[in-house]
């Protein structure tokens, strides 16, 4: 036991707790596996330890110890690769895949959460050593709140309006509102689609949003999220029953055609509104001078 023991323990505990707090299994169903969770908790613990130990090292004038943080950075980049690989492998067996953009977003989130843990532990330990435990507790609370803000990106209802729209057939062509989706030849397929299918129109709230919702990865994320939460009326080898999103080239609206197991337009609308806006899909043409 020395003067650094309690600050270090405190920093590690707060950091690991933050990782637990950020590791939630939600509708995205990942990570559901106990082992997956253990991997992330252990890495969170390591991140917390690295962030914490930096402060006593600096105080003891052991400046080279800080270079360990660079090691940490490469270590956590590996986390991103790991997540990307796992999810890509699993994606091939999904009835409605997540898509690479969504996967990349998840992988980036996993990496960045470890950095948030490092910063939190760093700041908390610094506050403990520079001031006292109460300031450290205060800073821990601030860090938790900040992480919560940083963790939650915007949702689709921030950028588009979602409206339920009836599906219609013009000959063999399937339409959502006036947006052409696909050609369904067989009458029995058309009946199934009329029975189970639902259509939604997403209208961008402003011009810059158009390219974000036009992004194929963003569209796939919408389809995946709806299919995961509401079920999907399809099986392997039935490409005719695949949910699709097509775009109205004139005004940038997109038409969402989904085939959920339960036909509940209100719920589907809510789910679409709460699909995360993928960071990789965001483009800001209006910031161009």
């Amino acid at each position: 036991m020395n003067e650094y023991t309690y600050p270090i323990v405190f920093g590690i505990v707060v950091g690991t707790a933050l990782r637990v707090f950020m590791l939630r299994t939600d509708y995205r169903q990942y990570p559901t596996y106990l082992h997956g969770k253990i991997i992330h908790l252990s890495l969170g613990f390591i991140a917390a330890a690295l962030g914490t130990i930096a402060i006593p090292s600096i105080m003891e004038k052991e400046f080279t110890a800080v270079t360990f943080l660079t090691l940490a950075a490469s270590q956590f980049r590996e986390v991103r690769n790991m997540e990307r690989n796992t999810l890509t492998e699993m994606d091939a067996y999904e009835l409605v895949p997540r898509g690479n953009t969504y996967i990349e977003g998840i992988a980036v989130a996993f990496e960045s959460r470890n950095y948030l843990v490092i910063f939190t532990s760093f700041i908390v330990t610094l506050c403990y050593l520079a001031f006292n435990i109460w300031v450290a507790i205060g800073s821990a609370v601030v860090c938790f709140l900040l992480s919560k803000v940083l963790m939650s990106g915007s949702k689709l209802f921030d950028i588009v309006t979602v409206e339920h729209s009836e599906l219609s057939f013009d000959g063999a062509g399937l339409y959502v509102d006036n947006i052409y989706i696909m050609n369904i030849g067989l009458p029995e397929r058309q009946e199934e689609i009329k029975k189970y299918g639902m259509g939604f129109i997403l209208t961008p709230r402003e011009f810059s949003v158009r390219s974000t919702i036009a992004n194929l990865g963003q569209r796939q994320a919408i389809l995946h999220d709806v299919s995961v939460t509401m079920g999907v009326f399809r099986d392997s080898g039935t490409p005719a029953l695949v949910p699709l999103i097509k775009r109205d080239l004139n005004d940038g609206r997109i038409g969402v055609f989904i085939l959920p197991q339960e036909k509940d337009p209100q719920r589907a609308k809510k789910i679409i509104e709460h699909v995360p806006v993928l960071e990789n899909a965001i483009q800001m043409p209006s910031k161009n001078r």
Partner: protein, 61 residues
């Protein structure tokens, strides 16, 4: 080059409308054509698209 889409078969009641390398199934009635197209769709894991009332194609997507 990877072929993204291909016509696997065509089903028609008007045989003079279709030629080419994909298999062509000639049918007598519209009902028969729909039944054949439905079967082929299931067998080939493709989608039956209607080009007209006399012609269906099975496309691999």
């Amino acid at each position: 080059m990877k072929m993204e889409k291909a016509i696997l078969a065509s089903v028609t009641t008007q045989e003079n409308k279709v030629h080419g390398s994909a298999a062509v199934f000639k049918c007598e009635t519209k009902e028969e054509m729909e039944a054949v197209a439905a079967n082929l769709e299931a067998i080939l894991d493709g989608i039956a698209h209607a080009l007209s009332d006399q012609l269906y194609i099975i496309v691999k997507h």
